[in-house]
């Protein structure tokens, strides 16, 4: 895959519709991509898409990224045809007002909507300064009344941000999109699967595209329980704040300096030997990588590392600004180099080194 093809793959994945609990379209898109690469994949009982590359008597390694994205679920259709909603995953109400959304219809198609609320002209002075609570917002799809809306959408239907995928900045070094968290991880896995095609790697490899990360990591939990891996590599994107108004020690990681390797976050302490091996490989192969320098967030490793009799975990995340918004920003170079790092780790895996650290 050329760099251009990798960007195109990321674009396609990010623009796919897959709020938490409604990931099947993303899974099916990935399934098609994998099939084109000559891989057979299967959906497990909760919707995780899995590719198994077997190797007997070898360490079992589960590599995962989640297919879901933060989004919305319709909780009420009002008399005048507006859609009240709840959020799926952690979304800051401040990024919602006035945003465009894509709403799933009863027939499985999509309609456009906008998140509306009282116009500034009608707001009181206090309201203008306050965060509008989500319960005061509604999605307007243009319906004239309740029956009109009900003929198109239904309670429990999902929605996501409708936001352009844009390459921007100096020499187009950055990418802005919705759902970079974690379609970027999915894209890295597809890239690595292409790269290792036909190679014989002494690992029992399980590539898992997991569901429901954003609300409790449940897809990864059941996947890990059935796969029972020895090692877990989670490919993610992580919230960073490398911004001028944030003190250096709270910036988490820096865009453009490579994938961020976690030591610990709010749900996992990562395996020290695994982290050391990853850092050493990055250094020796000249692949940019950095440490995540703040204890924040969490990912599928939270459940995976605690499954069965315990799993040694590693997480590599693309530093991402404004995560969980319609405008997540990542560095193109970080995206491109992370795939190389994952490939390098898989092809240079050294169990002794990890265990003896």
């Amino acid at each position: 895959m050329t760099n251009c093809e990798r960007i195109e793959l990321l674009r396609e994945l990010c623009l796919a519709f897959g709020p938490t609990g409604c990931e099947h379209r993303v899974a099916s898109l990935i399934k098609d991509k994998l099939e084109a690469l000559g891989y057979e994949s299967y959906l497990d009982r909760v919707g995780n898409l899995i590719v198994h590359i077997p190797c007997e008597n070898a360490p079992r390694v589960m590599i995962s990224a989640h297919t879901d994205e933060v989004g919305f679920i319709i909780s009420e259709i009002t008399e005048s045809g507006y859609l009240k909603f709840r959020v799926l995953g952690g979304i800051d109400p401040r990024v919602l007002c006035g945003k465009h959304v894509t709403v799933e219809t009863k027939s499985g198609d999509f309609v456009a909507g906008v998140i509306a609320s009282k116009a500034i002209h009608h707001q009181t002075a206090e309201e203008r300064k306050a965060v509008t609570p989500i319960k005061s917002m509604y999605i307007d799809i243009g319906a004239n009344k309740k029956e009109d809306a009900e003929s198109v959408v239904e309670l429990g239907g999902c929605a996501t941000f409708d936001s352009k995928f844009v390459q921007f900045g100096h020499e187009n070094a950055f990418i802005k999109s919705k759902a970079i968290d974690d379609r970027l991880g999915c894209a890295e896995m597809i890239y690595v699967l292409e790269k290792i095609k036909g190679q014989s790697i002494p690992l029992d490899l399980w590539f898992c595209f997991t569901v429901r990360e954003e609300i409790g990591l449940s897809g990864a939990q059941t996947a890990a329980q059935s796969i029972r891996p020895d090692y877990s590599i989670v490919i993610e994107s992580t919230a960073v704040a490398d911004l001028p108004d944030v003190p250096e020690n709270s910036r988490v990681a820096k865009l453009g300096e490579g994938g961020a390797i976690s030591l610990r976050d709010r749900s996992t302490i990562y395996d020290r030997g695994f982290v050391r091996m990853a850092l050493a490989l990055a250094e020796s192969k000249g692949i940019p990588a950095q440490l995540k320098r703040y204890v924040s967030g969490g990912n599928d490793a939270g459940h995976i590392h605690k499954s069965g009799s315990g799993v040694r975990a590693l997480a590599i995340s693309a530093p991402s600004r404004y995560i969980h918004s319609p405008a997540c920003v990542v560095s193109k170079n970080d995206y491109l180099s992370m795939g190389e790092l994952l490939y390098t780790i898989i092809t240079n895996f050294n169990e002794e080194e990890i265990k003896n650290a």
Partner: protein, 348 residues
């Protein structure tokens, strides 16, 4: 070009208040052909004239403002982040995670930053950041950015339009360029021989700032006999009283208030009824939030009808309108400028 396409094309123009001339050439391409002549005055009003061909004909002013809300760069920070302040009444709640365009030496893309929930302190969660505290992410190193952008560079919202159900559309800049488009289209539809006078379409500047300077000076120069002032009007949503808003899809609103001319308003309503065009009455106890207060006070005074295109989510990137209302508006304007009865009563 269909009316919807004209509305979207005009709304897409960069016309942040004070920078109305930025896309002037494109504006001329879009509507210049509907008129006999056009001028730009000292404050940036664009005036398009369609002549009736008769001597001493009354002058009919149709006003819609050209400017839209936006932002302006106040500082360039490390790693190419920009700070901005608002131009006009930007709704601060819509800013975080919005896509913007920075109109420097070249057009560049930017994103207004937000702090992700993972990294927020609980104390931050309830307050809205003031516009001056937000950062626009450009993805440029500071030195490179300084070659393109400087303090004072205007910033607008990224163009994005979508079709909603039932002929409604949503996007940015409908306030007030949707009205400008309807007005231009209405004037195009009126046959020259039917015109009740010379028609001046004033796409006025600087409405969104408190000065409302464009309409005042533009109307002074034109000195019309009477005027049709056309701006968006606040659409009814579940959280605002019906008495303070107008129904989207309910037709053009006509404002009855102390400063609008009662007779002109009534005659315009009759015209709508005669043509089978939907309209609704909007009431104010004082003035209007449009150019009418400026225009009616111009010179020796100008009788005004204040018409409104119902618009939801005003001053956001998701303003929405009903194309049926827009269609009504274009037809009503065509009827207004060809009404011999109105000209008879209001010509000087």
């Amino acid at each position: 070009m269909e009316l919807k396409e004209l509305i979207v094309s005009m709304a897409s123009l960069m016309t942040v208040t004070g920078y109305e001339s930025h896309d002037s050439e494109r504006l001329d391409e879009l509507i210049g052909g509907f008129f006999d002549e056009s001028t730009t005055d000292a404050l940036g009003n664009r005036i398009f004239i369609k002549r009736c061909g008769r001597e001493n004909a009354p002058k009919i002013l149709v006003d819609a403002h050209l400017d839209e809300i936006g932002m302006i760069v106040t500082d360039i920070k490390e790693n190419g982040f920009l700070t901005v302040t608002n131009v006009g009444g930007v709704d601060t709640r819509i800013l975080q995670a919005s896509d913007v365009v920075i109109y420097g030496k070249e057009k560049i893309f930017g994103v207004i930053g937000s702090t992700p929930p993972h990294l927020q302190k609980p104390s931050e969660a309830k307050s809205l950041r003031a516009i001056g505290e937000l950062l626009i992410d450009t993805g440029y190193p500071k030195e490179e950015l300084e070659k393109i952008v400087r303090i004072g560079t205007p910033v607008g919202f990224e163009v994005k339009y979508v079709d909603l159900a039932n002929g409604k559309i949503a996007g940015k800049g409908f306030d007030d360029k949707a009205c400008a488009a309807c007005a231009a289209e209405g004037i195009r539809r009126a046959a020259r021989e039917d015109l009740a006078g010379d028609v001046y379409l004033m796409l006025s500047s600087r409405e969104e700032t408190t000065a409302v300077a464009g309409a005042a000076t533009g109307a002074y120069a034109i000195d019309p006999d009477y005027a049709f002032v056309f701006d968006v009007n606040l659409g009814t949503t579940p959280d605002v009283p019906k008495s303070e808003s107008v129904e989207v899809g309910g037709g053009v609103s006509l404002t009855v208030c102390p400063i609008t001319d009662r007779r002109l308003t009534r005659m315009t309503a009759e015209l709508a009824e005669k043509r089978g065009l939907k309209y609704q009455i909007s009431v104010s106890g004082s003035g209007t939030g449009t150019n009418t207060p400026s225009i009616h006070l111009t010179g020796a005074g100008i009788p005004c009808v204040d018409a409104g295109l119902p618009l939801k989510s005003m001053h956001t990137c998701a303003e929405s309108l009903d194309m049926a209302d827009a269609e009504c508006a274009a037809e009503l304007i065509a009827a207004f400028i060809t009404s011999k009865e109105i000209a008879e009563v209001f010509k000087r």
